[in-house]
């Protein structure tokens, strides 16, 4: 109970060497007296990563096994999925893709302008450009979506005509904001990666700044910008299901509607959402691989 504990470093803090209150005992570093709470992590560390993965996967299958014992079978769920596929893909996923294309288009145009603004020698342009870029790069996309979609009017009046603005179009503008900011950074990064010697050579040949930028610097930037641009497209596409939270009828919303029509059996969850996962993966993974091969091809040789 009261044993003189061996202290590895200096004197005990409170001047007591003997006590049975663990809180007042000096901490014992030596291996002679084991501290109990280190034992579990050491035991866990003895497992190899692969065996831990197997154990985790088996753990994850457990709910699936439980569900299979319900009276709605997995095969029926797959059948339901099959019937709803044309609806989910044709009206849902296609809208996700349309939103991703339009967002990338709007975001790229705005982003290039913003990026050029960031490198402008006039503070009045570069200051606000930098601020806008940082603002939308560091804001959560969902919050931006909420702000844009709920703030923008649902119809606009030009002259005598009233034009309704569909919700997916508002979503395009909402998602275009962070994309614009990130493209702006890609453009700025590409421009400053061009060696200063190019600027000096252009200067010594009496090119104006505008000519230097458009004839010499930007053409060299173009190739460098493609891999990160494609990367952001993949990220954006994977983010499009966010718009379902604002009521846009895309793949996640339509999947939920389909499951609702099929009486909301819990066995439907994994097939329907699993399918959404797989279709996004099948679209984005080839883009990611192609991006990697482009990066290798465009490696900058200085």
């Amino acid at each position: 109970m009261t044993s003189k504990t061996h202290v590895a470093v200096g004197k005990p803090l409170l001047g007591r060497t003997e006590s049975d209150l663990p809180v007042l005992k000096p901490f014992n570093y030596s291996s002679a007296g084991q501290v109990n709470d280190l034992l579990f992590s050491r035991w866990l560390a003895e497992f190899s990563p692969r065996s831990l993965l197997v154990i985790t996967l088996l753990f994850m299958l457990w709910p699936g096994l439980a569900l299979a014992q319900g009276n709605y079978s997995f095969a029926q769920a797959l059948d339901a999925l099959w019937r709803w596929l044309p609806f989910i893909v044709g009206q849902g996923f296609v809208l996700n893709l349309v939103v991703s294309f339009l967002t990338m288009l709007v975001g790229t145009v705005a982003g290039v302008l913003l990026g050029l603004g960031q490198i402008s020698p006039a503070r009045i342009i570069s200051g606000p450009s930098w601020f806008v870029t940082q603002l939308f790069r560091n804001s959560p996309w969902l919050v931006l979506l909420f702000i844009v979609m709920l703030a923008l009017p649902f119809e606009i009046q030009i002259g005598d005509h009233v034009y309704p603005i569909p919700d997916w179009l508002k979503a395009v503008f909402g998602l275009a904001l962070p994309i614009m900011a990130n493209i702006s950074e890609i453009v700025r990064g590409a421009i400053i990666s061009v060696p200063t010697g190019q600027w000096e050579a252009a200067d010594s040949l009496a090119y104006s700044r505008h000519q230097t930028l458009w004839l010499i610097i930007l053409p060299q930037c173009f190739k460098r910008m493609i891999p990160p641009w494609m990367n952001w497209y993949a990220i954006l596409t994977m983010a499009t299901p966010l718009i379902s939270l604002l009521g846009v009828e895309e793949i996640v919303t339509l999947s939920r509607q389909a499951m609702e029509a099929e009486d909301n059996h819990p066995e439907l969850l994994v097939p329907f959402f699993g399918f959404a996962l797989i279709i996004f993966f099948a679209y984005c993974y080839p883009i990611a691989r192609y991006t990697i091969s482009l990066e290798k091809r465009f490696v900058v040789r200085q």
């Binding site: 010697g197 050579a201 010594s204 040949l205 004839l215 010499i216 060299q220 040789r301």
Partner: protein
Amino acid sequence: MTNSDWTPDQPLVSIRDVHKSFGNLEVLKGVSLDVRQGEVICIIGPSGSGKSTLIRCINALNTIDSGSITVEGIEVNDPGLDKLKLRKNVGMVFQQYNLFPHKTALQNVMMAPIKVLKQPVEEVEARARALIKRVNLVGKEDSYPGELSGGQQQRVAIARSLAMNPDVMLFDEVTAALDPETVNEVLLAIKDLAKDGMTCILVTHEMGFAREVADHIYFTDRGVIVEHGPPTTFFKEAKDPRTQEFLSQIL
């Protein structure tokens, strides 16, 4: 000071008591020199002596802190300087060539006269081809810089600067990045230029070239011109101990 005041009997480039600092480091501590039309000037000296900074000040790539530089009567240190006008008369060739990698050799040479001087394309193309022939690169007009060797790229860079018809050419250690065999082909091109009467200011380590081609040699060390003279007297009768020490190390 406008261009029209200047006459050929005055120095083409006139540098008077130039001081230049980068932050706390004073790189040029009162440099003065004159270059007359048709002269070939070589500036030699150890690294950090301010040679490159000096010639970069001549075409306003660096701004000077005090003193004056005039090129054909144009005040370079004038805050209201029309840089484009100055640079149309002053050509520069860099140590790292700095060719535009997305254009062929011929396009590199042709681009500036067309875009900057707004000259007609056929006339520029003819002149560009003649210049490429002059630097001995016939057959390489449609090659991209990535396909050319260092010496070939440097000669394209020379042709590119010449295409603007400058009155003075600045060479900033143009052979320093080349291997000894290719150094020769570039020096031949420069010698050819000098023979045709082009005013050249070279920063170089090539003493043999300087001895052969230069009209005047300036030795700089730690931001000042220590000694200068025509090559015949400079190399044989260097007076200052710093000059003698430098020459003994390289000759």
